[in-house]
Symmetry: C2
Amino acid sequence: MRLLREHDCGDVLFAGRVARPRFSEINVDAKAVLLLPRVVSAARKGDDALLRALVDILDAEGFRSVGIAEAAPGLLVPDGVLGQRKPDLDNERDIARGVKVVRRLGALDVGQAAIICDGLVLAVEAAEGTDAMILRAAGLPESVRGAAGRRQGVLVKALKPRQDGKTDLPVIGIQTVENAARAGLAGIAVEAARTLIVSRDAVVDAADAAGLFLLGFAASAYPD
Amino acid sequence: MRLLREHDCGDVLFAGRVARPRFSEINVDAKAVLLLPRVVSAARKGDDALLRALVDILDAEGFRSVGIAEAAPGLLVPDGVLGQRKPDLDNERDIARGVKVVRRLGALDVGQAAIICDGLVLAVEAAEGTDAMILRAAGLPESVRGAAGRRQGVLVKALKPRQDGKTDLPVIGIQTVENAARAGLAGIAVEAARTLIVSRDAVVDAADAAGLFLLGFAASAYPD
């Protein structure tokens, strides 16, 4: 906060990846000593709770937290199919189940992503992150997943129900497509307008080249 | 079923680990052709649905399916602490959160286990199985998990809410304790009377030697 004020920053936008610190090893000044208990207590509830506590603290200090949707709406996944492929009926069914699983997990502040293949939940994201989760699915026996010649299964990512969309939006990029291709998946379905896509053209090209669909779905398409 | 009848078997007990087959590659006789669609459709809903379909088919053919609780009650985890260590207050809190997460997952027929460390859900089990899940937690940064000198976090396993307890009971064994120790966990909490413990004495000794607690909890201790 001192640095922000020194540089006359009024708006704050959260971006990038942060590793959870060990709070007992953080050096704190007099102000942070007072704030830390609240942060530590929020951290115990999950990433979403932790980030909301940080945003609240900055707000109370007079900073304005800005979401990606406001600052760079062009980075958000639009509604609809992005590349050449479309999900088929099997994929649609996997997406519907995936949305349900991801919502329940998100409500518990566990993770934002899951992989469903022919109805079966192959993998569910917690602290390891999406890439590690996809690679895990790639390591499962071929009998339960797809492969390059016969792609099957879907990666679903969505915002946690309680998230306000200002921090920790789901993200996809080239790596996501490459890993999904390696896991034999048929495609990727993410919540439209609330998921970031980094290097969009390159990501769509990669998905087309690998034969994967890329779908932005409206949350309202899957009522609970 | 032909083999069972040839050998005059009336009771059937499901035990051991089964890899999901690729159903399109199974050779079926005239009878199985009629049953397969039902099995495939159940398989799409999850392991629990699949196993219940198989039990129902055997029941309809006049076989009696027997649960472990009936055939070998001594293999079940009893209520209470099994070894020398007891969960502390932090562990108790992690257990409570873990039970909640595992129940929600189980209700979706996703998995039976999760790892919680200081409130944070480190890992959640889907198709990869419990051992792979624990080893994944062992690979997370040390800032979010425990270690040998300062054990923290709990593995929680429980039956899926819809399971009848006849098939696919949660299981723990030496491997579970060894992996949990490697992941820096403080202990293992499983649903009493509905979890199998293989080589109980050896498992308790291993937990004591590693400094882990082993707890069988009553489901009623954690009302939803």
